[in-house]
């Protein structure tokens, strides 16, 4: 023991003293960033830490989070669903049209919108699994197609209460009051938390989740272990599309109408949230809790900056910079073994 200690004292090279803190930052960078931001904003803007503002932040990230969780599932199989924004738009258009054009009841309208979004998932899966187009390209094509479908269906993109149908016949449908509740607090926050919790449980604690990660890690070895890889990849895109559509439905509840490419703006924040989330707690894999944390980071930042009266047109500069920093904390010095 003695001799060993002596020998260890005169090494040529030592493990860098920075190794441990660096690993810590790699693993917890997002959380540190969120805390730092909160402290900063709390000091700079007194109203920031009020309970109403905190609820406000949580509400503002709900839709992004729901959509980003779907994307997270597609990322687990080493896929990438770029069509989530368009799918959200489509669901928004569909559900509003069911109310305004056809006066359908709330439950039926939502169910129908989600069901039709399944079509998007199956189309994606067909392109990726059967035709074997790489995920990113396939869903890019779908993104355009679905955006176009939504615009064509609505005759230009927007529907609101009182607007006539495409053929000119007047409409009497309205948005039901209970549907509008969906985007009010606390329901919207509860819905988000349910989505996060169930996908977390699904990915982390069920056989299916394990399979999804395995396929993402090594599709060949997974297949040779007897896992039906194509079925699971399809499943991943189904979950992704369903959650995107759910996000679109909540969005419809919030804005009370269908708008041109309303869901498109959620794609990039969702991608950012899911990517930031991959590094959460050193998992190095897309995961539901991480995605929620990623979305929170973006939400806190946006809210705080607005409260500090940073002009809206400059927001993106800071948001982009923070995204780069958050990613840097994960990827910097992460060496390959």
């Amino acid at each position: 023991m003695e001799e060993r200690a002596m020998k260890m004292d005169s090494p040529l090279k030592k493990e860098s003293p920075w190794q441990k803190p660096l690993t810590f930052i790699n693993n917890w960078g997002t959380v540190i960033a969120i805390i730092a931001l909160i402290v900063f904003f709390a000091l700079a803007v007194p109203q920031f830490m009020t309970s109403s503002n905190i609820i406000n932040i949580m509400r503002s990230i709900s839709i992004v989070t729901i959509i980003a969780i779907g994307l997270t599932v597609s990322l687990t199989v080493n896929g990438f669903d770029l069509s989530i924004g368009s799918t959200a738009t489509l669901a928004n258009s569909l559900v509003v049209s069911f109310f305004v054009w056809y006066s359908l009841p709330t439950g039926v309208s939502i169910a129908l919108a989600l069901l039709l979004a399944l079509g998007v998932a199956l189309f994606n899966a067909f392109l990726i699994v059967k035709i074997k187009i790489p995920d990113l390209f396939a869903t890019l094509a779908t993104m355009f197609i679905i955006e176009g479908v939504a615009m064509t269906y609505t005759g230009g993109g927007s529907i609101s209460v009182g607007m006539p149908r495409l053929d000119g016949t007047p409409t009497t449908g309205t948005i039901p009051a209970v549907f509008s509740l969906l985007s009010q607090t606390p329901y919207i926050i509860i819905l988000m938390l349910i989505v996060v919790a169930s996908v977390y449980f699904f990915l982390k604690h069920t056989k299916h989740g394990r399979y999804l990660y395995m396929i993402g890690g090594n599709i060949e070895a997974s297949r040779l272990s007897g896992i039906p890889v194509n079925r699971y990849r399809t499943l991943a895109y189904i979950i992704s599309a369903l959650l995107a559509a759910l996000g679109g439905v909540v969005l419809a509840s919030q804005i009370g109408s269908a708008q041109i490419n309303a869901g498109g703006g959620y794609l990039m924040p969702a991608v950012a949230a899911a990517f930031i989330g991959s590094s959460f707690a050193g998992q190095g894999k897309p995961n539901a809790i991480g995605t929620l944390v990623g979305a929170t980071l973006i939400g806190v930042l946006e809210n705080g900056l607005v409260m500090m009266s940073v002009p809206y047109y400059s927001l993106n500069i800071i948001k982009g910079a923070v995204l780069a920093l958050a990613l840097a904390s994960t990827y910097y010095t992460r060496r390959k073994n």
Partner: protein
């Protein structure tokens, strides 16, 4: 002549003391064997020398001068280069042979120049290959090469510049006898005529005795001894590396062979590589598939397992026809396959050991609604780890961090938790040390005794002779001969596997 001297090298990974005060020295022009059980630290020691790890303690001297090796580039600068255990990870598949050979050059020595001179590139690559006396078209894309050729490309890359020491980490594991002989010729050429010091890692003892002058033996992260080959016997080497005496002859119990279990009738695959293959596996039966590299053993294994589509032919399991349209169906029907290329097909390197071991039997570890029982998984995994002697700090270690041979054990262990009735092994002992090879043999024998049907494909004739009851010899996608193991020998198998009739 140059002297290489590594002194008091230690290195640790979380939970593993991979090297403990290791000394290693040799001279250029020498061919040195480095041997030790799986996980003994061979690859790690060589990674230290070639600049892949920098968090070690200890010193490396070249001709008495202290080296400061911080990166592979530094090591190359000092004239030290390595050809890694996993060749595919070091090549860029869609570039051609010349580009791959000249990769370091293009990356490191082009400062100031932006244009690639293709003519020079091919000329220089061609010259390097000529130095090795091998004939590969420098314009061929690397993904069209055989494994052996890929390895030669890597060796060529290593010697583009003048080198003093070249490390070959298990270069012969994927090679056929003929290719091994060719590699030996090149190794001798490099050491005798060009004065390189070669460090040669392998688990095949006979070949070490054939090509090396001295052997360094490692065990549990320590250097045990270095001796000249003439002072050693294979038995002695095994004793030193395992720390116990070991009988390489495998003991088989006599079990009566039962009824026909698996019957394969006139199988032809869609690629038409296999031609009308028929064979039979009986209860308690270990059936060997012998043949040279490229004879179609792997294709046959994959065709039975549903990975390669069939054109015609039928498979009967206990007289009932089964259709293995995909590996998923095959596993449901009770088949298991330990594939040849472990990193690509056998293990999930980013997942922990326990998740790899339960990958094919996850259904057994679930509550209702497919909820997992990870504690139960870990518990079963620990049993397999113990019974196969997988060297890992815990069942939670990522497979990527295990040594090559231990990864192979994980690929085998995965199927022990399934209810497979027919187990197909495709070169299962690749990269596995002698001791572990014995463990795997024992395991396969006991599976057969339990009544399972075993198909064992290998180009290692001594293994086939050691473990099987019957042998089918393949040549050019066909089964050319069926032999009873008791009544045959290497010469006879070799005769048929080279197309003799």
């Amino acid at each position: 002549m140059t002297t290489l001297d590594m002194q008091d090298i230690s290195i640790e990974f979380p939970g593993v003391k991979a090297l403990q005060h290791v000394d290693f020295s040799m001279k250029s022009g020498e061919i040195r064997a480095l041997i030790g059980a799986n996980g003994a630290g061979k690859s790690t020691l060589m990674k230290v020398l070639s600049g892949a790890y920098t968090h070690y303690t200890g010193q490396v001297f070249l001709d008495g001068q202290l080296l400061d090796i911080q990166s592979p580039r530094d090591a190359k600068k000092y004239g030290i280069d390595i050809v890694y255990q996993e060749v595919d990870t070091a090549l860029i598949p869609y570039l051609d042979v010349a580009e791959n050979i000249m990769l370091d050059e293009m990356v490191n020595e082009m400062s100031g120049k932006a244009l690639v001179s293709w003519k020079n590139l091919h000329k220089k690559a061609g010259e390097t290959l000529a130095r090795l006396n091998v004939n590969i078209d420098t314009r061929k894309r690397v993904n069209q090469l055989s494994l052996a050729e890929k390895q030669l490309v890597l060796i060529a890359r290593a010697i583009v510049h003048e080198r003093k020491f070249l490390i070959l980490d298990e270069p012969t594991a994927p090679l056929s006898n003929r290719e091994t002989a060719e590699l030996f010729r090149i190794v001798r050429e490099l050491s005798v005529n060009q004065g390189l010091g070669i460090i040669f890692i392998s688990h095949r003892l006979p070949e070490l005795f054939e090509i090396c002058e001295t052997i360094s033996i490692m065990k549990d992260g320590k250097m045990i001894t270095t001796e000249t080959v003439s002072d050693l016997t294979q038995k002695k080497v095994i004793e030193l590396m395992l720390g116990k005496s070991f009988n390489e002859e495998h003991q088989k119990h006599q079990v009566p062979i039962g009824n026909t279990y698996l019957k394969i009738d006139n199988l032809t695959d869609e690629a038409q590589f296999l031609k009308n293959v028929s064979l039979e596996v009986r209860e308690h039966d270990i059936v060997g598939i012998a043949g040279l590299v490229g004879a179609g053993k792997t294709e046959l294994c994959k065709a039975i397992f549903g990975e390669n589509p069939l054109q015609s032919g039928t498979i009967y399991l206990k007289d009932k026809q089964v259709r293995n349209q995909s590996p998923t169906h095959a596993v449901k029907n009770g088949f298991a396959l330990v594939p040849e290329e472990r990193r690509k097909e056998g293990v999930l390197v980013d997942e922990p050991v326990y998740a790899n071991l339960t990958a094919a039997s996850l259904r057994k570890f679930t509550l209702p609604f497919s909820v997992l029982k990870p504690e139960r998984e870990r518990e079963r995994a620990r049993k397999i780890i113990a019974s196969l002697g997988i060297k890992t700090p815990s069942e939670n270690q990522k497979v990527a961090l295990l040594s090559g041979g231990n990864q192979q054990k994980v690929a085998v262990g995965k199927w022990l938790l399934t209810d497979a009735e027919i187990l197909i092994f495709d070169e299962p002992t690749k990269g596995v040390d002698v001791g572990a090879k014995g463990d795997i043999f024992d395991l396969i024998t006991s599976l057969a005794e339990e009544g399972k049907g075993i198909i064992y494909a290998s180009s290692e004739l001594n293994e086939i002779l050691n473990i099987t009851d019957r042998i089918y010899v393949m040549y050019d996608g066909k089964i050319v001969k069926e032999l009873k193991t008791q009544n045959t020998n290497e010469e006879e198998i070799l005769f048929y596997s080279t197309g003799g009739r």
